[in-house]
């Protein structure tokens, strides 16, 4: 890698290239390849030029083909992501938590998803917000990360458009500082900035007056931060969470220990939960849930492509390694 081309050329005299080498040589003219056989081309039959695509175009063809095939796959009906037993249990937990809330119960919703992974949990998040609204809960939405705030602003605007007024929904805004800001919220309450009848009620009651904290988690602030920072300070506040599957290994132990009372973290669980909410959603108002679920056909096709690429790239090496190990063992 560190040797120059000149050094290689000085060490080894140039060899006559074989036909195959000649075809693959990068120094070969790429634009136009004329037919070069032993016989000279006659003037009546001019050599047919063959256009060769540039490297950028050639690299773009597989991506374009993948996009086209994904688009086609998205029209294939009848593909469903099967929910495992743990997914079904996770859905049941979250449904039970929401169903157990009395009418008018204040719920603190922390929206701190990442813009990159939020598409995976958007369907479940909107389903949960709709379910909480249908149940009659009052929501206070807060964010501790800039990306989470961007998502929260969009979701608040959506709920307001659906008819959630200041008596049902209060925006606690963005609180800078990450986990220290979380500690501040747990210790000092919602603060003086939020306005409206619901905000006044929550200000009097403090964080302890919330009946549930629903954490829409991301990489920076998620269920782990809430369990570590809020639960020791407000032990009576139950915490439920919706996270991308990327965070599952980190937060599953908290669900196992009961520190999280519900956790939806896989796409099949999110789809199953969304279907359940959709079946009982309100006809109008903020409790409606009409979101389209993620396209299973495109997801499955993408998975198949990924499996094929991974196996094609690793299969040869693994087979060669196994063959040589087998030969060594025999000898």
């Amino acid at each position: 890698m560190t040797e120059s081309q000149d050094a290689n050329e000085r060490r080894e005299p140039p060899q006559p290239a074989s036909d195959a080498d000649a075809r693959e040589s990068p120094e070969e003219p790429e634009r136009v390849e004329t037919v070069q056989s032993g016989e000279a081309a006659t003037p009546e039959e001019p050599p047919t030029p063959r256009m060769r695509l540039g490297p950028g175009v050639r690299a773009g063809i597989p991506s374009l083909a993948l996009v086209v095939l994904l688009a086609i796959a998205s029209f294939i009906p009848g593909i469903d992501l099967a929910a495992s037993g743990s997914d079904v249990a996770a859905v049941r937990d979250l449904e039970a938590v929401v169903a157990g809330l009395p009418r008018g119960a204040p719920v603190l919703v922390d929206v701190d998803g990442d813009l990159g992974t939020y598409p995976e949990i958007r369907y479940a998040t909107r389903a949960a917000l709709a379910d909480l609204m249908r149940q009659g809960a009052n929501l206070a939405i807060v964010s501790f990360t800039p990306e989470g705030r961007a998502i929260a602003v969009a979701e608040i605007a959506r709920l307001r458009n659906l008819g959630a007024g200041p008596d049902r929904l209060v925006d606690l805004g963005f609180r800078s500082g990450g986990e220290p800001a979380l500690v501040q919220l747990a210790g000092s309450g919602i603060g003086p900035n939020a306005t409206g009848p619901l905000a006044d009620t929550l200000r009097k009651g403090g964080v302890g007056s919330f009946r549930l904290a629903l954490v829409i988690g991301g990489a920076d602030i998620g269920p782990r931060s809430w369990v570590e920072q809020v639960q020791p300070r407000v032990p009576d506040l139950p915490i439920a969470a919706i996270t991308p599957s990327l965070l599952l290994p980190e937060v599953l132990p908290y669900r196992g220990s009961g520190q999280l009372i519900a956790l939806v973290g896989t796409l099949p669980a999110a789809l199953a939960y969304g279907r359940q909410v959709s079946a009982r959603a309100a006809g109008f108002g903020p409790g409606t849930f009409t979101d389209r679920s993620p396209n299973n056909g495109a997801i499955v096709f993408g998975m198949l492509v990924a499996i094929a690429v991974l196996l094609a790239s690793s299969g040869g090496s693994l087979a060669g390694w196994a063959r040589s190990a087998w030969r060594r063992a025999r000898s």
Partner: protein, 204 residues
């Protein structure tokens, strides 16, 4: 001397916050709250300083005519988010223009960057296969196996795949991840103890 004062202050602040969690005392709670507030202000200040440094750095690069396209893109992005939010009469992050920038530009761009993860991993895998073929092939095969387990196939095979996928996620992967977390936590505690005890050579 300077090092001792910094270490003592750090140790004191850490102890106050720690003891406040264990003992319910209003005075101690107030002090811990004040320290926490200071931390929030420090974080906000660091954010503002970081943004300013970014602007200064890229304006400087533009002035020196180094990577003009990249610097212009960074400054344009900062301006697109900041100007509508800081404009007179704007409601900040809730302003429609900021919401449009986030929904129409920022979110798709970040999602696209995340979507590039797979091709980038493939490029890294191709390099890994050249340098350490066996280990890289094993990692890729394991990734393919996990994807196969997640395939939505119906019938008893699909049911077995789904159950196995859940077991793989909840037992081996979770165990490895917990091991990593414990390792990170132990290293963090060790580093913190070294700083608190003033035995960290780099803490000056």
């Amino acid at each position: 001397m300077r090092r001792s004062i910094a270490a003592a202050l750090t140790a004191l602040a850490g102890l106050v916050v720690l003891v406040d969690l264990a003992i319910a005392n209003p005075a101690l709670g107030g002090l811990a709250g004040w320290l926490n507030q200071l931390l929030v202000l420090l974080a906000a200040g660091a954010g503002v300083a970081g943004a300013l440094m970014l602007v200064v750095r890229h304006v400087g690069r533009l002035a020196r005519r180094e990577d003009q396209l990249g610097s212009a893109a960074v400054l344009l992005g900062i301006g697109l988010v900041l100007l509508p939010g800081l404009a007179p009469g704007s409601s900040g992050a809730d302003a429609p223009a900021v919401r449009w920038v986030v929904a129409a530009l920022l979110a798709p761009l970040v999602a696209a960057v995340l979507a590039l993860l797979f091709p980038l991993l493939l490029v890294a895998a191709a390099r890994g296969l050249r340098i350490r073929p066996r280990e890289t092939a094993l990692i890729l095969a394991a990734a393919a196996a996990v994807l196969i387990l997640l395939l939505p196939i119906g019938g008893p095979v699909g049911s077995w795949l789904t159950t196995t996928a859940a077991w793989v996620r909840e037992v081996p992967i979770a165990a490895v991840f917990r091991g990593l977390l414990i390792g990170v936590a132990a290293t963090g505690a060790l580093t913190a103890a070294r700083i608190l005890l003033g035995s960290d050579a780099t803490h000056d």
